[in-house]
C-alpha cells in the first residue's frame, strides 16, 4: 500500500492506466448502450421506457461509489496522512456529482411515464437528492481548503467526506426501511429480478461506466498533482529570487 502512496510511482502507473481505462470504458459503454437501446427487447409493462435503465442504474451505482471513494480516501488521509489520498478524494467528487445528477435526471424522466409523476418526496428520491447536495458542499469545502494545500482545511474536508458517507447506506436501505414509490432493489446478492435480456447489457454498461469513472479520477489526480508541482516550483523560485536579493521587477523582466 505504501508503495502506491509514492507520487512518482503513482504517476508512472497512472500515465498508461488513464488512457487504457478511458478507451476501454468508452468502447464498452458505446457497445452496451447500442445493445441496450436498439437490440434489447421492450419491457412487458413499461415498453420502450425500460431502456433508460442502462444509464440510470450505472449512474446511481457510481454516484454512491463516488462518495464511497471519498470516504475511504478521507479515512486514509485522516489516519495515515497520505497526500495521495487527499488528491484521490478531491478527484472523485466531480465525476461522482455528475453521475448523481444524471441518475436524478434520468430517474425523473422515467418516472413521468411509469409512475405518472416527475418527482415525489419518498425515501429513495430524497436521500439521492441529499447526496447531490452533499457533493456540492464537499466541492465548495475542498475549493475553500485548496489555498493551504494539504493542511488543516483539507482535514476539515476529509472529516466532511467521512461524515457524509452515512448517507450512502441510507440510500441503499431507504426502499427497505420505508414504504416508497421507488421499487426495491432488483439485483441483490446473487439474485436478479431482471430478465437476462436486460441484465447483460446493463452489467456491461455498468462495467464500462465504472472504467470511465476510474479513468476520469486518475486523469484528475494527475492534473491536481501537476498543479501542486507547478505551484511548489513557483514558490521555490520566488524564494530563490528573494534570497539572492533581486527585486521583483527583475523577475518580471526575466519572464518577458
Amino acid at each position: 500500500m505504501h508503495g502506491f502512496a509514492n507520487p512518482a510511482r503513482f504517476l508512472r502507473l497512472a500515465r498508461w492506466m488513464t488512457p487504457l481505462l478511458l478507451v476501454t470504458g468508452l468502447v464498452l459503454v458505446a457497445g452496451s448502450l447500442a445493445w441496450g437501446l436498439f437490440y434489447a427487447p421492450a419491457d412487458r409493462l413499461m415498453g420502450e421506457t425500460v431502456r433508460i435503465l442502462y444509464i440510470h442504474v450505472p449512474s446511481a451505482w457510481l454516484g454512491m461509489g463516488g462518495w464511497t471513494t471519498i470516504a475511504i480516501a478521507s479515512l486514509v488521509e485522516l489516519v495515515w496522512r497520505h497526500p495521495l489520498a487527499t488528491i484521490a478524494a478531491r478527484a472523485a467528487a466531480v465525476p461522482g456529482a455528475v453521475f448523481t445528477a444524471i441518475c436524478l435526471a434520468t430517474g425523473s424522466i422515467w418516472g413521468r411515464p411509469t409512475w405518472g409523476t416527475w418527482w415525489v418526496w419518498d425515501g429513495r428520491l430524497t436521500s439521492m437528492l441529499v447526496l447531490l447536495f452533499l457533493y456540492f458542499a464537499y466541492l465548495a469545502l475542498a475549493n475553500a481548503a485548496q489555498k493551504d494545500g494539504i493542511g488543516a482545511g483539507s482535514r476539515v474536508t476529509a472529516i466532511f467526506g467521512l461524515v457524509g458517507a452515512i448517507n450512502v447506506p441510507i440510500i441503499n436501505r431507504s426502499v427497505v426501511w420505508w414504504n416508497s414509490l421507488h421499487q426495491p432493489a432488483s439485483i441483490t446478492m446473487g439474485k436478479s429480478a431482471i430478465d437476462p435480456a436486460f441484465l447483460w447489457p446493463l452489467l456491461i454498461c455498468a462495467l464500462g461506466f465504472s472504467l470511465l469513472f476510474g479513468g476520469v479520477v486518475l486523469a484528475r489526480m494527475r492534473a491536481i498533482l501537476a498543479d501542486f508541482q507547478a505551484e511548489a516550483r513557483l514558490r521555490r523560485r520566488a524564494q530563490r529570487e528573494l534570497a539572492t536579493g533581486r527585486a521583483m521587477s527583475s523577475v518580471e523582466g526575466a519572464a518577458t
Partner: protein, 154 residues
C-alpha cells in the same frame, strides 16, 4: 504505562470512535423516522389505526385481482387495494396511469369518506422490481404470481 500509542494509531482509534458515535446517532435518527418517513400507509395501517374521515392521507398497496370496475359515469373506477392482511375499497375519478392494472402496485392521494371508502384525488402507479420482456410474459405467469404473493406477504 509507558507504551504510548503511536500518533497514527491514536488517530485511527479516534476516527473509529467518532464513526461509532456517528453511526449510533444515525441509527437513532432512523429509528425516530420509522413511520414518519414512509411515503404512504398500507391497508393494514388504515385498518389498525383509521385516520378520521376527511383527513388527507396517502394509501399504497396492490390492486386486488378482479376488483377493478368502471362505474356508470365511465370515468370513475372503483377497485380494492390490499397488502395481504387488510383491504381498502378505493374510488377514483380521472385518467389512470398506463401501469395501473390488477395485481400491480398503486399509490393514491386522498381521504376516507364516512363509509370507509378511500376517495383518491390522484393515482400513481408503482413499478415493482421485476423487469421482463413482453415475449416471456405468458411463460412466467406462475413466477409473477409467486412474486405478487411474496410482496403482499410483508
Amino acid at each position: 504505562m509507558s507504551t504510548a500509542l503511536k500518533p497514527k494509531h491514536q488517530r485511527l482509534v479516534l476516527v473509529i470512535l467518532a464513526l461509532v458515535v456517528l453511526i449510533g446517532a444515525a441509527l437513532l435518527a432512523i429509528w425516530g423516522l420509522r413511520g414518519q418517513a414512509s411515503y404512504f400507509y398500507v391497508p393494514s395501517d388504515i385498518a389498525s389505526d383509521p385516520p378520521e374521515p376527511g383527513r388527507a392521507v396517502r394509501l399504497g398497496g396492490m390492486v386486488q385481482q378482479g376488483s377493478i370496475q368502471t362505474l356508470a359515469d365511465g370515468v370513475t373506477v372503483a377497485f380494492v387495494v390490499g397488502d395481504g392482511k387488510a383491504t381498502v375499497p378505493v374510488r377514483y375519478t380521472g385518467i389512470t396511469p398506463d401501469l395501473f392494472v390488477e395485481g400491480s402496485g398503486v399509490v393514491a392521494d386522498g381521504r376516507l369518506d364516512a363509509d370507509g371508502t378511500f376517495v383518491a384525488d390522484s393515482l400513481l402507479a408503482k413499478h415493482d422490481e421485476n423487469y421482463m420482456p413482453r415475449e416471456l410474459e405468458e411463460m412466467s405467469e406462475a413466477q409473477a404470481k409467486a412474486v405478487v404473493a411474496e410482496t403482499t406477504a410483508q
